[in-house]
Protein backbone atom coordinates (compact mmCIF):
# COMPACT_ATOMS: atom_id res chain seq x y z
CA UNK A 1 0.00 0.00 0.00
CA UNK A 2 2.87 2.35 0.77
CA UNK A 3 4.39 1.68 -2.65
CA UNK A 4 1.01 2.27 -4.32
CA UNK A 5 0.67 5.56 -2.46
CA UNK A 6 4.13 6.63 -3.57
CA UNK A 7 3.24 5.68 -7.17
CA UNK A 8 0.03 7.74 -6.95
CA UNK A 9 1.91 10.79 -5.68
CA UNK A 10 4.68 10.48 -8.29
CA UNK A 11 2.14 10.04 -11.10
CA UNK A 12 0.28 13.09 -9.77
CA UNK A 13 3.49 15.13 -9.75
CA UNK A 14 4.18 14.20 -13.38
CA UNK A 15 0.57 14.95 -14.33
CA UNK A 16 0.69 18.36 -12.66
CA UNK A 17 3.97 19.16 -14.40
CA UNK A 18 2.37 18.20 -17.72
CA UNK A 19 -0.62 20.43 -17.10
CA UNK A 20 1.59 23.47 -16.48
CA UNK A 21 4.08 22.77 -19.29
CA UNK A 22 1.26 22.29 -21.80
CA UNK A 23 -0.56 25.35 -20.34
CA UNK A 24 -3.69 23.25 -19.85
CA UNK A 25 -3.81 24.78 -16.38
CA UNK A 26 -4.98 27.96 -18.13
CA UNK A 27 -8.76 28.00 -18.74
CA UNK A 28 -8.29 30.65 -21.42
CA UNK A 29 -6.17 28.22 -23.45
CA UNK A 30 -8.82 25.51 -23.30
CA UNK A 31 -11.55 27.99 -24.25
CA UNK A 32 -9.43 29.16 -27.19
CA UNK A 33 -9.27 25.55 -28.46
CA UNK A 34 -13.06 25.34 -28.27
CA UNK A 35 -13.53 28.66 -30.05
CA UNK A 36 -13.25 27.37 -33.63
CA UNK A 37 -15.14 30.38 -34.99
CA UNK A 38 -12.80 32.84 -33.27
CA UNK A 39 -9.04 32.99 -32.86
CA UNK A 40 -8.60 29.20 -32.79
CA UNK A 41 -5.73 27.82 -30.72
CA UNK A 42 -4.83 24.17 -31.52
CA UNK A 43 -2.72 23.67 -28.38
CA UNK A 44 -5.10 21.16 -26.77
CA UNK A 45 -4.95 18.89 -29.83
CA UNK A 46 -1.15 18.67 -29.51
CA UNK A 47 -1.44 17.95 -25.80
CA UNK A 48 -3.95 15.17 -26.46
CA UNK A 49 -1.83 13.76 -29.28
CA UNK A 50 1.28 13.79 -27.10
CA UNK A 51 -0.54 12.20 -24.19
CA UNK A 52 -2.00 9.38 -26.27
CA UNK A 53 1.46 8.07 -27.27
CA UNK A 54 2.73 6.90 -23.83
CA UNK A 55 -0.80 6.02 -22.76
CA UNK A 56 -1.21 3.72 -25.77
CA UNK A 57 2.21 2.13 -25.17
CA UNK A 58 1.19 1.43 -21.57
CA UNK A 59 -2.02 -0.20 -22.76
CA UNK A 60 -0.08 -2.45 -25.14
CA UNK A 61 2.25 -3.49 -22.30
CA UNK A 62 -0.77 -4.01 -20.07
CA UNK A 63 -2.48 -6.26 -22.60
CA UNK A 64 0.54 -8.60 -22.46
CA UNK A 65 0.78 -8.84 -18.70
CA UNK A 66 -1.52 -10.32 -16.10
CA UNK A 67 -1.10 -7.85 -13.27
CA UNK A 68 0.31 -4.39 -12.58
CA UNK A 69 3.60 -4.13 -10.69
CA UNK A 70 2.13 -2.97 -7.38
CA UNK A 71 -1.30 -4.62 -7.28
CA UNK A 72 -2.78 -8.06 -7.81
CA UNK A 73 -4.97 -7.11 -10.74
CA UNK A 74 -5.89 -4.43 -13.24
CA UNK A 75 -9.03 -2.44 -12.50
CA UNK A 76 -11.21 -1.61 -15.46
CA UNK A 77 -11.47 -3.50 -18.69
CA UNK A 78 -8.58 -4.22 -21.04
CA UNK A 79 -8.07 -3.00 -24.51
CA UNK A 80 -9.07 -6.15 -26.41
CA UNK A 81 -12.40 -6.77 -24.68
CA UNK A 82 -13.30 -3.10 -24.96
CA UNK A 83 -12.98 -3.29 -28.70
CA UNK A 84 -15.94 -5.63 -28.70
CA UNK A 85 -18.30 -3.48 -26.67
Amino acid sequence: MRAQMLAAIVCGLIFGAGLVISDMINPGRVLAFLDVAGNWDPTLAFVMGGALIPSAVANIIRSRGSAPLLDSRFYGRPFSSLRQC
Binding site: Q4, A7, I9, V20, S22, D35, G50, I53, P54, L70
Partner: protein, 143 residues
Amino acid sequence: MTEINYLWPLAGGLLIGLSAGLYLLLNGRIAGISGLAAAAAGLTHDGDSKLGLGFLAGIIAGAWLTATLVRHPDITLTSSPALLIAAGLIVGYGTRLGSGCTSGHGVCGLARLSPRSLAATAIFIAVAGATVFVTRHLVGVQP
Protein backbone atom coordinates in the same frame (compact mmCIF):
# COMPACT_ATOMS: atom_id res chain seq x y z
CA MET B 1 -5.44 30.86 -35.72
CA THR B 2 -3.10 31.63 -32.86
CA GLU B 3 0.57 30.96 -33.49
CA ILE B 4 1.80 28.49 -30.92
CA ASN B 5 5.03 26.82 -30.01
CA TYR B 6 4.24 23.15 -30.51
CA LEU B 7 6.98 21.87 -28.25
CA TRP B 8 5.37 22.97 -24.98
CA PRO B 9 2.01 21.29 -25.64
CA LEU B 10 3.70 18.16 -27.00
CA ALA B 11 6.08 17.92 -24.05
CA GLY B 12 3.28 18.55 -21.57
CA GLY B 13 1.05 16.01 -23.30
CA LEU B 14 3.81 13.39 -23.21
CA LEU B 15 4.14 13.96 -19.45
CA ILE B 16 0.38 13.62 -18.93
CA GLY B 17 0.36 10.40 -20.96
CA LEU B 18 3.43 9.13 -19.09
CA SER B 19 1.63 9.75 -15.82
CA ALA B 20 -1.49 7.89 -17.00
CA GLY B 21 0.58 5.02 -18.42
CA LEU B 22 2.66 4.64 -15.25
CA TYR B 23 -0.43 4.69 -13.07
CA LEU B 24 -1.92 1.89 -15.15
CA LEU B 25 1.22 -0.26 -15.14
CA LEU B 26 2.09 0.36 -11.46
CA ASN B 27 -1.29 0.51 -9.70
CA GLY B 28 -3.49 -1.02 -12.39
CA ARG B 29 -5.84 1.92 -12.28
CA ILE B 30 -7.16 4.57 -14.63
CA ALA B 31 -5.67 8.03 -14.11
CA GLY B 32 -8.90 9.89 -14.73
CA ILE B 33 -9.11 13.02 -12.65
CA SER B 34 -12.87 12.93 -12.13
CA GLY B 35 -12.66 9.30 -11.03
CA LEU B 36 -9.69 10.03 -8.73
CA ALA B 37 -11.56 12.99 -7.25
CA ALA B 38 -14.59 10.78 -6.64
CA ALA B 39 -12.33 8.20 -4.98
CA ALA B 40 -10.67 10.92 -2.90
CA ALA B 41 -14.09 12.10 -1.76
CA GLY B 42 -14.95 8.54 -0.68
CA LEU B 43 -17.64 8.10 -3.35
CA THR B 44 -16.23 4.85 -4.69
CA HIS B 45 -16.38 1.60 -2.79
CA ASP B 46 -12.99 0.12 -3.56
CA GLY B 47 -10.98 1.70 -0.75
CA ASP B 48 -9.11 3.94 -3.17
CA SER B 49 -9.70 7.21 -1.35
CA LYS B 50 -6.10 7.52 -0.12
CA LEU B 51 -4.69 6.84 -3.58
CA GLY B 52 -7.04 9.43 -5.06
CA LEU B 53 -5.95 11.97 -2.47
CA GLY B 54 -2.29 11.14 -3.10
CA PHE B 55 -2.65 11.61 -6.85
CA LEU B 56 -4.55 14.90 -6.47
CA ALA B 57 -2.02 16.21 -3.94
CA GLY B 58 0.72 15.23 -6.40
CA ILE B 59 -0.98 17.20 -9.19
CA ILE B 60 -1.17 20.33 -7.07
CA ALA B 61 2.44 19.99 -5.88
CA GLY B 62 3.72 19.12 -9.36
CA ALA B 63 1.85 22.03 -10.94
CA TRP B 64 3.12 24.43 -8.28
CA LEU B 65 6.74 23.26 -8.60
CA THR B 66 6.65 23.41 -12.40
CA ALA B 67 5.01 26.84 -12.41
CA THR B 68 7.71 28.06 -10.03
CA LEU B 69 10.73 26.43 -11.63
CA VAL B 70 9.98 25.76 -15.30
CA ARG B 71 7.15 27.71 -16.89
CA HIS B 72 5.22 30.46 -15.24
CA PRO B 73 1.60 30.24 -16.41
CA ASP B 74 -0.12 33.41 -17.54
CA ILE B 75 -3.63 32.68 -16.35
CA THR B 76 -6.52 35.01 -16.99
CA LEU B 77 -9.78 34.27 -15.24
CA THR B 78 -12.67 36.23 -16.65
CA SER B 79 -15.51 34.62 -14.70
CA SER B 80 -16.61 35.46 -11.18
CA PRO B 81 -15.83 32.96 -8.38
CA ALA B 82 -19.56 32.16 -8.08
CA LEU B 83 -19.76 31.30 -11.78
CA LEU B 84 -16.59 29.19 -11.55
CA ILE B 85 -18.02 27.22 -8.63
CA ALA B 86 -21.32 26.70 -10.46
CA ALA B 87 -19.46 25.58 -13.59
CA GLY B 88 -17.29 23.24 -11.52
CA LEU B 89 -20.35 21.62 -9.97
CA ILE B 90 -21.88 21.06 -13.41
CA VAL B 91 -18.62 19.61 -14.74
CA GLY B 92 -18.33 17.33 -11.71
CA TYR B 93 -21.87 16.08 -12.10
CA GLY B 94 -21.48 15.57 -15.83
CA THR B 95 -18.18 13.72 -15.59
CA ARG B 96 -19.57 11.28 -13.02
CA LEU B 97 -22.69 10.77 -15.13
CA GLY B 98 -20.51 10.20 -18.20
CA SER B 99 -18.03 8.02 -16.25
CA GLY B 100 -15.02 10.18 -17.06
CA CYS B 101 -13.50 13.44 -18.20
CA THR B 102 -10.74 14.59 -20.54
CA SER B 103 -8.14 12.47 -18.78
CA GLY B 104 -10.17 9.32 -18.12
CA HIS B 105 -11.95 9.17 -21.48
CA GLY B 106 -9.64 11.33 -23.58
CA VAL B 107 -6.17 10.17 -22.52
CA CYS B 108 -6.80 6.71 -20.99
CA GLY B 109 -9.92 5.58 -22.86
CA LEU B 110 -8.92 6.61 -26.38
CA ALA B 111 -5.51 4.98 -25.88
CA ARG B 112 -7.18 1.64 -25.24
CA LEU B 113 -9.52 2.09 -28.21
CA SER B 114 -12.67 2.27 -26.11
CA PRO B 115 -15.74 3.13 -28.22
CA ARG B 116 -17.46 4.47 -25.11
CA SER B 117 -14.58 6.88 -24.49
CA LEU B 118 -14.51 7.97 -28.14
CA ALA B 119 -18.23 8.75 -27.94
CA ALA B 120 -17.85 10.60 -24.64
CA THR B 121 -14.84 12.64 -25.83
CA ALA B 122 -16.46 13.58 -29.14
CA ILE B 123 -19.68 14.61 -27.39
CA PHE B 124 -18.15 16.69 -24.60
CA ILE B 125 -15.81 18.53 -26.96
CA ALA B 126 -18.66 19.19 -29.40
CA VAL B 127 -20.97 20.43 -26.64
CA ALA B 128 -18.22 22.58 -25.13
CA GLY B 129 -17.46 24.04 -28.56
CA ALA B 130 -21.16 24.77 -29.12
CA THR B 131 -21.35 26.42 -25.70
CA VAL B 132 -18.37 28.65 -26.51
CA PHE B 133 -19.91 29.51 -29.89
CA VAL B 134 -23.23 30.48 -28.36
CA THR B 135 -21.77 32.48 -25.48
CA ARG B 136 -19.02 34.25 -27.44
CA HIS B 137 -20.53 34.70 -30.89
CA LEU B 138 -24.30 34.71 -30.42
CA VAL B 139 -24.71 36.15 -26.93
CA GLY B 140 -21.50 38.13 -27.20
CA VAL B 141 -19.75 37.37 -23.91
CA GLN B 142 -16.15 38.46 -24.42
CA PRO B 143 -13.29 36.36 -23.05
